[in-house]
Structures are given as C-alpha cells and as structure tokens.
C-alpha cells in the first residue's frame, strides 16, 4: 500500500486517493447519530457509499498493480487493504464469482462500538458489507450493485466471528 502525505496541506493519500484518519468516537458516533434519525436507512447508505468507493478505488489499484495476478491473489490484496486501513481481518478465500461466504475474526466497528457503547442486538459491520460488494464487483466485473451482502452473524451480538453472505443480485444473473 502506498501512503503519501503532504504536510503543507494535510492531505493524506492511499494509493493515490484522498483518505483521512478518524477515531472510533467519530466513526461509531456517525453511525449512531444517523441510526437515531427516523426514516433514514443508514445501513443501506453506508453500504452503498462504501461499495462505490471500494469498487472504483480497488479497480484502479488492480489496473496499476495487480493486472497479472490471479483472483485469489486479488482477494488477498483486498483483505490486505482492509486490514491496512484498520477495519479488521477478513478471510475472503471462500468467495467466488457467484458470491459465497466471508468471515472476520477481528472488526473495527465491533471493537470501536464495544468500547464506546457496549453490546447491541443487531450487526454493525455495514462498511464491511459495502467493502465486499465493491471489491467483488471490481474483481469479477460488473456494476457496483452486482452483489448483495448480508452480515449473517456479528461479533457485536456475541458470535465468535462476523459472517457475511454474498449473493449475486437476481437482475445481474
């Protein structure tokens, strides 16, 4: 991963794309604040925004650095990116073009949410759903909304790991 920092402008770039660092008080606080608003489907909004960003940025990254790599190598690179950004550790080895399952034994949003708010009854890894949707569409080709991702189990509710089910949307089959 290539990090570039311009100290005169406070601009941080990851593989050429502007990024910033935020703590769990903000990242989880953002989710919490939006979840409190009636009529706002924050889950869908976060998944969509994350899918769009990871789709376009990982696609560009693959074109520049992974062109001659296998699908498994690209999936490992995606997991490395996810880990590098501080979102946790994902196993993507059981995914294929038709979807499949992914799991995480470490999750930023679970860790941050537990530290700030404690347990909750519903999954919290919305960003991860968007990440999976975006990188799979980038790797296998298709539109950004090709895959639908659900977090089946989440460590925030007491499970041992976060489990994600990935399906190809019907209209994309």
């Amino acid at each position: 991963m290539l990090i570039n920092f311009n100290p005169d402008l406070n601009i941080l770039k990851l593989n050429g794309v502007m990024v910033s660092l935020h703590c769990h008080h903000y990242n989880c606080g953002l989710v919490n604040a939006l979840e409190e608003m009636e009529g706002v489907d924050v889950r869908e909004i976060i998944i969509q925004a994350a899918a769009e960003e990871f789709y376009v940025n990982f696609k560009n990254y693959m074109q520049q650095h992974l062109e001659d790599k296998t699908v498994q190598e690209k999936l490992r690179a995606a997991a490395d990116l996810y880990r590098f950004m501080g979102f946790g550790r994902l196993n993507l080895s059981q995914l294929n073009e038709l979807g499949g399952e992914a799991c995480a034994d470490s999750s930023y949003y679970v860790t941050g949410w537990l530290a700030k708010y404690g347990r909750r009854k519903t999954p919290i890894c919305y960003l991860t759903c968007g990440f999976l949707s975006g990188i799979l569409a980038a790797i296998y080709g298709g539109t950004v909304d090709k895959y639908r991702v659900e977090e089946k189990n989440c460590m925030i509710t007491g499970h041992n790991c976060c489990e994600f089910v990935v399906l190809v949307r019907e209209q994309c089959l």
Binding site: E53, Y82, L127
Partner: protein
C-alpha cells in the same frame, strides 16, 4: 511567540500509527481507521439531502458532538503520550502554546490544513481551513449551501479550547462551543470557525 507548527507536524507525522496483524489501529487511547474522504462526504451529504432543514441541523449537531468527543479524547491521548512528552512538550511554555501545538498536530490526519487565526487566552479561538474536502464537493454536487458544512473542523476548534482552558480532563468537554462563520460550501473563500466559552 507561537510554537513552530511545521516542526510539530513533522514530528507527529513520524508517529507509527499503523494497524496490527488483526487490522486494528490503536493510538492515543482510541481506535483509528483510515477511510476515503469521499465515503464520509457521500454518507453525510446523502442523509442531509433526504431531510428537511431543521432535521438536517439536528443531524449535524449530533455529528458535531461525535467529532467533539473524537477530538477531545484523541488530542488528550496525544498530549499525554510519551512521544508528545519527549518531542513536543519541550516546545510548550504556556497554555497558548499548547493550543497551537494541538492545532498543528491535527494536520497529520488528512482532513485539510487547519491553522490559528486568532487566540484570546481562555476565551476565544478563531481557526481557518482553506482546503477542507467536503465544502468543495458540496458545491460540485449540490450547489451553495444554506450554512457551513464543516462540523468536523468546528468541533475540533472547540475541543482544543476544552482541553486547554476547560476543567481538567475528562470533565471539560463542552466548555466551549464553536460555530462555523464562513464556509466554502456557501461560496466563501475560506472556512472559519470561532470557539467561545459558553456563557452560564
């Protein structure tokens, strides 16, 4: 004389803020993560566009509070870190120096360059940002905005004052309140924030 902000940034940018093998980035008593600026813009702006003016203001107030907590705890973690004590504390000779140091320290997180325009000790801080990410994107996507959109910098501006001039940590959060008085998303040429002590 204010401390050397460039030196603070140079020192702070060498800090090893990295994720561990489990993909968790712990630093200064908080959990950090790196994310695309465009992600945050998309999430917040899309929500705001769905809401009426009053409800959108409520959301932005909640986001201001989330950043206030973020800044208050992160900057406190930073100023009590061994790295700060070793390299930055020797440059600090007054509470005002500490404000300048904290503002400078903010300039390693990739959110745009914030600097002090005016500081009245214990009472008021005016900070400015020329290159915040969101205002330009609001203009591109939605046109001029009815009020400033930089809740993030606004809350940071208050958090510096809370930490330096408020009651001892962790009880000082909210001693100051900040308002964005000009914003590039409204057509101004700079984003400006004024934090003042809340009058009781």
């Amino acid at each position: 004389m204010p401390i050397d902000s460039k030196k603070v940034i140079e020192i702070a940018s060498r800090l090893p803020i990295e994720s561990n093998e489990r993909g968790i980035m712990a630093a200064f008593g908080v959990y950090a993560a790196m994310n695309y600026n465009e992600f945050f813009f998309k999430v917040v702006s899309r929500v705001i566009q769905m809401l009426d003016y009053r409800t959108a203001e409520e959301v932005e107030k909640k986001l201001y509070d989330a950043v206030l907590e973020c800044g208050y705890h992160t900057f406190h973690g930073a100023r009590t870190s061994m790295h700060w004590r070793e390299y930055i504390l020797p440059m600090i000779n007054s509470p005002e120096d500490e404000v300048y140091a904290l503002v400078a320290f903010t300039n390693v997180f990739g959110i745009g360059y914030i600097e002090v325009e005016e500081l009245i000790p214990g009472q008021k801080l005016v900070a400015v940002v020329k290159n915040a990410y969101d205002p330009g994107r609001y203009m591109e996507e939605y046109g001029p905005q009815p009020h400033g959109r930089c809740y993030m910098f606004s809350a940071c501006t208050a958090s510096y004052m809370d930490l330096v001039y408020g009651p001892r940590y962790p009880t000082g959060m909210g001693t100051f309140v900040s308002k964005e008085v000009s914003c590039r998303s409204m057509g101004d040429n700079i984003c400006r924030f004024i934090a003042e002590r809340i009058k009781i």
